[in-house]
Symmetry: C2
Subunit: 371 residues, 2 copies
């Protein structure tokens, strides 16, 4: 067999043979995929600046950003967005309250430690922090940092309550919204959010490689000089004035982002996308009531369902069996709870029909008839 043909076949298997319910990458729409097959255009011109401006305006509108907010487009994964936000907005004179409810909260904590930002590792469990006022340590903080959806376990925090607490205490409110944007509500003005970090391969349902940091005027005022070229927000803001980035952007993903943001508008706006994700998530959760699994947390987002086996089975074994026997990909917990919880994404181009593949596979796996 010709090498390229072998290669092609392998790629077909990797791509097309599985039903995918992993929380990133997620299923993309045909319209977005088509753009991936086009030549990458030259980008140092006004045509591409218009693409950047269009993405910026649509994103700001989608999160109801306050007047004067800006978007930074980083060619990088989400972690770079988290790290760059900390590097550009916090320093040794700050004191950050970092919510740590799992693997991603722990990552924010590592980032603050690595950059020597004074902080408290605020370990939380079994709360969505609607009671943050009473739970938070009684100390003076300058910033509140959280992953709106702690993706390692599927736990959604109460952004309104956190924002009210941050505002009352004059704290910068920094929110990683990577795995809940588009599927769960986020309103910068309503929740008094100063920084939103988003990424291409979750609810936005694009290929991975593009991360956005949205800065409200409060955050823009705090952008400082830092010892970094690639993560230097001042450079990005300066170039952003003419719709450009200091270094080569992920051009193709930017074009896909523009199309995707227009698609969301045409389909009825982000509220409609959120309602649709909620509908799918509810449908899934209702349809598996007869199975020996239970919801891991009462604070689940629309983006994802996390399940715990109630019959003593290992969650990791279930993940492996579904892949091997049913060609259905769900996701383990990457950390210490790998045997206790597995994760099912409802992000991306999801329908009830597509979700039925997983629902039916789970019923067959347990030998329980779907009712």
């Amino acid at each position: 067999m010709k090498e390229s043909l072998k290669n092609w076949k392998k790629q077909k298997v990797i791509y097309e043979d599985y039903a995918i319910f992993t929380p990133g990458p997620v299923k993309m729409s045909d319209e977005i995929l088509k753009i991936g097959a086009m030549q990458t255009p030259y980008f140092r011109n006004s045509e591409f600046s218009d693409v950047t401006f269009s993405c910026e305006n649509s994103l700001l509108e989608m999160v109801n950003a306050p007047q004067g907010s800006k978007v930074i487009f980083l060619t990088a994964s989400g972690t770079a967005g988290m790290e760059a936000a900390v590097m550009n907005l916090l320093n040794k004179n700050d004191k950050a309250l970092v919510v740590n409810g799992g693997g991603f909260g722990s990552r924010f904590e590592n980032i603050c430690a690595s950059h020597e930002i004074p902080h408290t590792n605020f370990v939380v469990k079994n709360t969505n922090l609607s009671d943050i006022e009473s739970l938070a340590p009684d100390e003076d903080y300058t910033a509140l940092v959280v992953n709106a959806h702690e993706t390692s376990v599927g736990h959604l925090y109460d952004l309104d309550a956190m924002g009210a607490y941050a505002t009352k205490n004059n704290m910068l409110f920094m929110v990683d919204a990577i795995s809940m944007l588009v599927t769960d509500p986020l309103d910068m003005q309503q929740s008094n959010i100063d920084v939103v970090i988003a990424s291409s391969q979750k609810g936005l349902a694009l290929p991975p490689g593009l991360t956005m940091v949205i800065l409200a005027p409060n955050a823009l005022n705090k952008v400082q000089d830092i010892n970094s070229l690639y993560f230097n927000f001042k450079d990005y803001l300066k170039n952003g004035e003419r719709g450009q980035t200091p270094y080569t952007p992920a051009v193709t993903i930017m074009l896909q982002l523009e199309a995707r943001l227009n698609q969301i508008k045409e389909r009825g706006g982000v509220a409609r996308s959120i309602a649709s994700a909620k509908e799918i998530a509810t449908y899934f959760r209702e349809s598996i009531k007869a199975l020996p699994v239970k919801e891991y947390t009462p604070y689940m987002p629309n983006a994802m369902t996390t399940l715990t086996p109630t019959d003593g089975k290992s969650a990791m074994d279930i993940v492996n069996d579904l892949e091997k026997d049913y060609k259905v990909m769900v996701c383990p917990n990457g950390g210490p709870e790998r045997d206790i919880v597995f994760r099912i994404s409802h992000m991306g181009e999801m329908t009830k029909e597509y979700t039925d593949i997983l629902i039916n596979a789970l019923h067959d796996y347990y030998g329980i008839r779907r009712t």
Copy 2:
């Protein structure tokens, strides 16, 4: 008109209507584009680890890396590769000799300054440094840093001579090969290169967003602990042992990279790709002899031709006129020489027939019959 249709039409114009001779993004092959239109697969599994290993092995073979070399895959633009290499391999006890022959050499100098690496800004002009032995300042250096092809002006340095000088003086030899890999010769063992930085959107002819740092054992021994998560080579090396990256990789571009490296092998290997780029570059340079332009430097790579008008015309005007009147995109010099030099890429899926579009446009523009 429906919004999506308007959007689509605009994208068609951005993508398809122009003949592109810009040094990144460059023209891609149909095989690579097809992969861009497929669903991004889940990647935390052995199938994707195999993709990573395949990319690593093919890259190491392509640059004739010494036994024990490793590749770090960064989801980022090329500048991140330059900065990450400096951050992970140099520190305050080093003294770097940084070759600065234009915009990209100047960027390396900024990176060293930003990270407080002691260094000399070694400004060079009208030399390919085959005489580096006599030109270099007579000081003790620990590292030699260069952009093999200074892309801002199309100037190729003599890596053999530089490597011999670095070895003789016990210096780490760090080479940004971003805009010459695949089109111009690079041999890590022959030139005693310790670090090679490569990027997806130049000679590799893939979409932008993936950068690779190749580390020879000499460099691997120097990898140090640093205050960064996203650029922490130790994490990448540890995860690389199982074919993974610490953070979400540019999955689609990785799959395109695997296919592209196989394509290069099937077409006769990298030597054949280099010969082909040389043939196209020579064809172009021979075909425009009658026009009032001259080659900007005697040290041009196969990757690119840089031209200076000899009739007093502004280079920037020529770039704009070609785009407006002929739908042909060539590239200005982004710096102070914008009126003196313009740039024509021969990287990517180039043929003589495609190059004829530009040759004919230039003849028509000057009103000179092509002979």
